[in-house]
C-alpha cells in the first residue's frame, strides 16, 4: 500500500487530509457545543460528505480521461445508477411509514395503482443485495456499452457524444412513471439506513466517515492501477492506440476493464451521495451534470488523480458559495472557469502549483 504512494506527494496529502477530516469533523459536530464558534453544523457535515462523494466520482472520471484518454461525458449515468440502487434500498426501508401506509409498496407505486412490487424491485429490502447492485448495475452498463464501443474502435469525439447520448437516454427513460423508479420525482422521503435514523447527527457522521473511507480506498485502487504496467499501457493507449495493438495488447480489453472499473467507482460514489442528500431523481442523469463533472477534473488537473479530487471539492465549494451569494452568476462562472482553465491552465490547479514549485526551486 505504501509502495504505490511512493513519490505521490499530492496523493499522500490528500489521504492525510481526508483521514484528518474524518477525525476532526465528528468531534466538532458531536462534542463541541452548538454555542461555540468551532461547532460544525450537521448541515455542513452533510455538505462535506457530499463533496467527498463528488471527489470519488471525479477520480473515476480522471482514471478514464486522464490516463486512458476516453473523454466520457456520461459518467453521471453510472453515478446516478449507483444512487438509484441505494435509493431503492432506502425506499424499501420506509415500510409502512409512507403517506399511504402500504407496507409492501413505496408511495409512488400506490399512487400509480400498482398491485405488487415489480420484479426488478425484488431483493432491494436486503442491504447486501442492494450493495451488490450498486456495483453490478453501473458495471454491467459500462461493460455492455464499452464492449460495443471499444470493439468497433469508436474513439475521440464520437465516443464522447455516444456517452452523452447514453446518459440522456437514461434521463428520458427514468422520467417515465412506467419505468417504476418514481418518474419525475425520483425516490425520496427516506427514513433510515440499516436501522439508523437518517436525520440523526450520528448517522450523518457515519455517512461522512464512510464517504471518506470510500474516497481513500478508491484513491488507492486507482493509484494501484496507474502505477502498474496496466497503467502505463493505458497511457500508451491514450497517446498512440495503434502502436499498442502492434506490440500485442488487446486495446479493447484494456479499455473495457478500466472503463468498467471506473463505472463501478462512480456507482459507489452515487450510493454514498443519495442517503446524504436524501433524494435521487432523473435530474442526476442530466448531461449537464456529466459535463460539469468533466470541468471539475479539468480544473483540478487531469492525469494526477488527486488533482481530480481537489478540483471536485474546489469547484463544488465555489458552487455552494456562489449559488448562495449570487445565484444568477454561477453558470457564467462555471463556463468562464472552463474557458480560462482550458486556455491558461491546461494542467489545472495542480499544474499551476507544480509550476510555482519549479520556479521557486529555480530562483
Amino acid at each position: 500500500m505504501f509502495r504505490i504512494l511512493r513519490g505521490d506527494y499530492g496523493g499522500q496529502i490528500l489521504i492525510a487530509l481526508v483521514i484528518l477530516a474524518c477525525a476532526i469533523v465528528p468531534y466538532l459536530n458531536l462534542y463541541v457545543p452548538a454555542s461555540s464558534p468551532y461547532h460544525l453544523s450537521t448541515f455542513t457535515v452533510t455538505l462535506l460528505g457530499k463533496y467527498l462523494t463528488y471527489a470519488l466520482l471525479a477520480l473515476s472520471v480522471d482514471l478514464v480521461w486522464g490516463y486512458l484518454g476516453i473523454l466520457s461525458l456520461g459518467h453521471g449515468a453510472f453515478f446516478a445508477l449507483g444512487g438509484y440502487a441505494m435509493g431503492m434500498y432506502l425506499m424499501r426501508q420506509i415500510g409502512d411509514r409512507g403517506v399511504y401506509g402500504n407496507p409492501d409498496l413505496p408511495d409512488f407505486m400506490v399512487f400509480l395503482n400498482w398491485e405488487q412490487l415489480p420484479w426488478f424491485w425484488q431483493g432491494f429490502d436486503m442491504f447486501w443485495f442492494a450493495m451488490i447492485m450498486v456495483l453490478f448495475v453501473p458495471g454491467l452498463l459500462a461493460y455492455v456499452f464499452g464492449w460495443l464501443a471499444f470493439r468497433s474502435r469508436v474513439t475521440g469525439v464520437y465516443l464522447s457524444i455516444i456517452t452523452q447520448a447514453l446518459t440522456y437516454a437514461l434521463l428520458l427513460a427514468f422520467f417515465r412513471n412506467e419505468m417504476g423508479f418514481g418518474g419525475n420525482n425520483g425516490l425520496t422521503d427516506f427514513k433510515d439506513i440499516l436501522g439508523f435514523n437518517l436525520q440523526s447527527d450520528q448517522t450523518r457522521i457515519g455517512l461522512f466517515i464512510a464517504s471518506g473511507v470510500a474516497l481513500v480506498l478508491g484513491y488507492l485502487s486507482c493509484r494501484a492501477i496507474v502505477v502498474s504496467r496496466l497503467g502505463r499501457v493505458a497511457v500508451a493507449i491514450r497517446d498512440s492506440e495503434d502502436r499498442v495493438r502492434f506490440i500485442g495488447y488487446r486495446v479493447d480489453k484494456v479499455k473495457l476493464a478500466i472503463f468498467t472499473f471506473s463505472a463501478v467507482i462512480a456507482g459507489i460514489a452515487g450510493a454514498l451521495y443519495v442517503p446524504q442528500v436524501g433524494i435521487i431523481n432523473p435530474g442526476e442523469f442530466s448531461p449537464l451534470n456529466s459535463i460539469e463533472l468533466v470541468i471539475w477534473v479539468a480544473v483540478g488537473g487531469r492525469g494526477t488523480l488527486y488533482g481530480a479530487a481537489l478540483g471536485a471539492i474546489v469547484v463544488n465549494y465555489a458552487k455552494t458559495y456562489l449559488t448562495g451569494a449570487l445565484p444568477e452568476v454561477w453558470l457564467f462562472a462555471l463556463g468562464g472557469l472552463f474557458v480560462l482553465v482550458t486556455l491558461y491552465l491546461p494542467k489545472g490547479i495542480v499544474g499551476l502549483m507544480s509550476r510555482r514549485q519549479k520556479e521557486l526551486g529555480a530562483s
Partner: protein, 276 residues
C-alpha cells in the same frame, strides 16, 4: 472461378478442413524454410488496386529489402501482414501453417511478427525503459499486465536491448524528448523486446545522420539469421549496404527479385525508377 477456387480449397491435401483445426494454437515452424508467404494477395481502396496479385515468400533468417517508388504498395503490404488491413483475396501465411488472415493485430504481434512504423511512434509520455518494458514478450492479458513485474532475466534483457540501441544513458528520459534518430532506435528496441521471429521495418533510415545510418545497418545485419528481417526502404545507398536479396514492388506487384546488382541491371526496374 470463385466456385472452383473454393472447391480447390476444400480438396487441398496438405491441409485438414479449417473447422477441424484450431487456428490459435498452431505454432508456426520458424527456424527453417519459408517463414512468411503471400500468395495472390490483392487489395483495393475505392477501386484503386493498392496491391495486385502479390506473391512473395521470405525464408527464415533472411534479410530482405523491399524497394519501390511511392505508391508501390510497400506500406500496404506491411499493413496486410500485420493485420491492419484485410486483403480482398489471397493468402498470407506465417510459417507453413499459421493463417494470418482473420487474426487481429495483437494476435499477430503475439505470434511473433513485430513491426516498426514509417513515422517513429513511441509512447512519448513514458520514459525509455518503460517503453521497452511495455513491449516485452509475455502474457499481455489485462490481469497479467496489472500484476506484471520485470523478472531478473527480463531486466537483464532490457539492459541488453538498451545497450544494443545505445540508449543506456537515456533510460529514464521521456521518450518524447529524444531526437528523431533515437526514437527510430527506441522503436527498434521495442521490436527486440518482443523477441519476434519476423521484424518488419518500415524506412529505418529516414531522418538519420550518416553515422546513425551506419549503426542501423550494422544492427539490422546482426539481427538477420536469428530473426528474419524485412526492410522497406527508399534510400538506395542504405539498401545496397545491407541487402542480400531485394524485391522491387511496382503498382502493388512484384516487378523483380534478386540480388541488388541483378535488380539494378533489370531493364524494367530502370524504366520504373528512372522513367521511360
Amino acid at each position: 472461378m470463385k466456385q472452383l477456387d473454393s472447391l480447390r480449397e476444400v480438396m487441398r491435401r496438405d491441409e485438414v478442413f479449417s473447422f477441424v483445426k484450431s487456428d490459435k494454437d498452431v505454432q508456426p515452424i520458424t527456424d527453417r524454410g519459408v517463414i512468411l508467404s503471400l500468395e495472390g494477395v490483392s487489395v483495393s481502396f475505392d477501386g484503386f488496386k493498392a496491391i495486385n496479385d502479390l506473391n512473395m515468400a521470405i525464408d527464415a533468417g533472411e534479410l530482405r529489402c523491399i524497394i519501390g517508388p511511392n505508391g508501390a504498395g510497400k506500406t500496404t503490404m506491411m499493413d496486410i501482414i500485420t493485420g491492419k488491413t484485410a486483403p480482398d483475396e489471397g493468402r498470407v501465411r506465417f510459417g507453413q501453417t499459421m493463417n494470418l488472415l482473420g487474426m487481429s493485430e495483437p494476435e499477430i504481434a503475439q505470434a511473433g511478427i513485430g513491426r516498426k512504423f514509417q513515422k517513429p511512434t513511441v509512447f512519448e509520455c513514458l520514459d525509455v525503459a518503460e517503453n521497452l518494458e511495455l513491449a516485452i514478450q509475455g502474457d499481455k492479458s489485462v490481469w497479467a499486465t496489472y500484476r506484471a513485474k520485470l523478472s531478473g532475466e527480463q531486466r537483464d534483457y532490457q539492459e541488453k536491448v538498451l545497450e544494443t540501441i545505445g540508449l543506456q544513458e537515456a533510460a529514464t528520459h521521456r521518450a518524447g524528448s529524444l531526437s528523431h534518430g533515437q526514437k527510430q532506435w527506441l522503436e527498434i528496441g521495442m521490436l527486440l523486446m518482443q523477441r519476434p521471429h519476423v521484424l518488419l521495418v518500415d524506412e529505418p533510415a529516414a531522418g538519420m545522420t550518416h553515422q546513425e545510418m551506419d549503426n542501423t545497418t550494422e544492427l539490422l545485419t546482426s539481427l538477420a539469421g536469428e530473426h528474419t528481417v524485412v526492410v522497406v526502404e527508399h534510400d538506395m545507398d542504405f539498401v545496397r549496404s545491407i541487402a542480400e536479396r531485394v524485391t522491387v514492388l511496382h503498382q502493388g506487384h512484384v516487378l523483380a527479385e534478386g540480388s541488388m546488382d541483378d535488380v539494378q541491371q533489370n531493364q524494367r526496374v530502370i524504366e520504373v525508377y528512372l522513367g521511360e
